[in-house]
Amino acid sequence: MKIKHLSLVLLTLVLVFGCSSKEKSEKPKIAVVVSTLNNPWFVMLAESAAENAKKLGYEAKIFDSQNNPAIESDNFENLISSGYDAILLNPTDSDGSISNILKAKTAGIPVFCMDREVNADDAATSQILSDNYSGCVSIGIEFVKELKEKGKYVEILGLVGDNNTWARSGGFHSVVDKFPNLKMVAQQSGDFDRNKAMEVLETILQANPDIDGVFCGNDAMAMGAFQALQAAGKETKVKIFGFDGAGDVIEKIREKKIIATGMQFPKVMAQTAAQYADEYFKGRKVFPQRVPVEVELVNAANIKDY
């Protein structure tokens, strides 16, 4: 009888300590969910986030939402059921992504947004965002000066459901709209996509062959705009402005083929998001809801620094 009791106690101890030692050996899992992996900028953001999470000792896996809120939703369902412990998210849609974040929140999983803001201040644990507005104020001032306060221009917007699109456009227009001799002849979405922006500008150029400037909501679209202008033989006449600080645009600024861009710091955002997740696991529960990351203007005057 005593032996039976002893075996039972031993079995219980083995089960308890066995389980707890297994739990201890399991690393928390961090999911990196990005809007798209079709754009090198987001690839860098995703890979930096995953790399930083791994450096901090966590398992990390990247999920691609393919710019589709429905796929993002599926990703969330999947990673909630798979037992992920934190999510570093680059949202697809400023409104549409809120419900996904709330689902994770209900499941007790903190979500740290990177780069793109969602329109809620009680869903994500924290949002680490580029200061798009200030960056585009600087670009707007550069634009006005370069065009000498007059001329016709085109604005190619990013995704219309994304807050970054409107923060950038808002910053730019807060400056440019104060100069009445600058006329915007077209404003269309290029979905942050190089080919789409090229097609959009090609069509706009047919009706407006005499434009003086193009402001693009990201650098991929600035490259698309450059291609469209080059095909039309207007790349030296029309001044192009982008936003991101992508390598190919930095090269074009060096070659004086693109005027300026706003340098974002995706690696800083990714690192901060991973660091916040680490602090969360270690007990910190209160984070600033929005953390703006400075954007620096890059133009011919300071290109040597980049």
């Binding site: 803001e117 006005v144 910053g171 104060k178 953390v291 703006p292």
Partner: protein, 204 residues
């Protein structure tokens, strides 16, 4: 028996009237509606006239430069304001000098102690004044878009009310006192080309 039906009818009528005259809204919806109706102009007026003009954060430009040269980190922490992460911060400064050039809205000032500085009266844009003042917190507003509207209203006050009134009195050769916001970067080693977004320019 008839009375009973009258009472029931009266009760139904009162219930219908009551149901249609009282409604409940989510507190979050009410708060959102309040933010949407927020009077940014009045708020910016208060920030400018009661805050910026009387700001205790304003430091003499000479003292700021000296502090930054002595201990950049401490000077940025004590006098600067940076929302979030970045290399630069905004500062509220004041100084005096003589106007030596006016071109395209930029007033070139031979500052008595700091060499040449520039006052920009044309490109009053962005968050320099709002952030240098340190009076508005990011958490005061639900979204960045609302937060940035504060800057736009503040800039409108300076651009439309302050600059035109004060600037038309001054010309080349005049001595002026001035205050405003500057942006300094931690990468910065020289203090030439300092551009000031003015909050005030006055003939001395």
């Amino acid at each position: 028996m008839k009375k009973k039906y009258v009472y029931i009818l009266a009760f139904v009528i009162i219930a219908i009237l009551g149901y249609n005259s009282v409604y409940f809204k989510k507190l979050s919806d009410v708060k959102n509606a309040k933010k949407e109706n927020f009077d940014f102009k009045a708020y910016a007026d208060s920030i400018y006239y009661k805050g910026i003009l009387k700001s205790k954060k304003t430091i003499a430009l000479t003292n700021l430069i000296s502090s930054v040269k002595t201990n950049q980190e401490a000077a940025f922490k004590k006098y600067g304001n940076r929302l979030g992460i970045g290399n630069s911060a905004y500062f509220m400064i004041q100084s005096t000098g003589k106007i030596i050039d006016i071109k395209d809205g930029i007033y070139t000032i031979a500052d008595e102690k700091n060499g040449v500085v520039y006052i920009d009266t044309k490109y009053i844009f962005g968050n320099a004044l709002r952030d240098a003042s340190g009076l508005v917190k990011l958490t005061d507003f639900k979204t960045n878009a609302q937060f940035n509207k504060v800057s736009e209203s503040l800039n409108d006050i300076v651009r439309n009310e302050v600059i035109p009134k004060e600037i038309k009195k001054v010309q080349i050769g005049d001595s002026v006192s001035f205050s405003g916001a500057i942006k300094l970067s931690k990468k910065q080693t020289l203090f030439t080309d300092l551009l000031i977004i003015p909050s005030q320019i006055k003939l001395q």
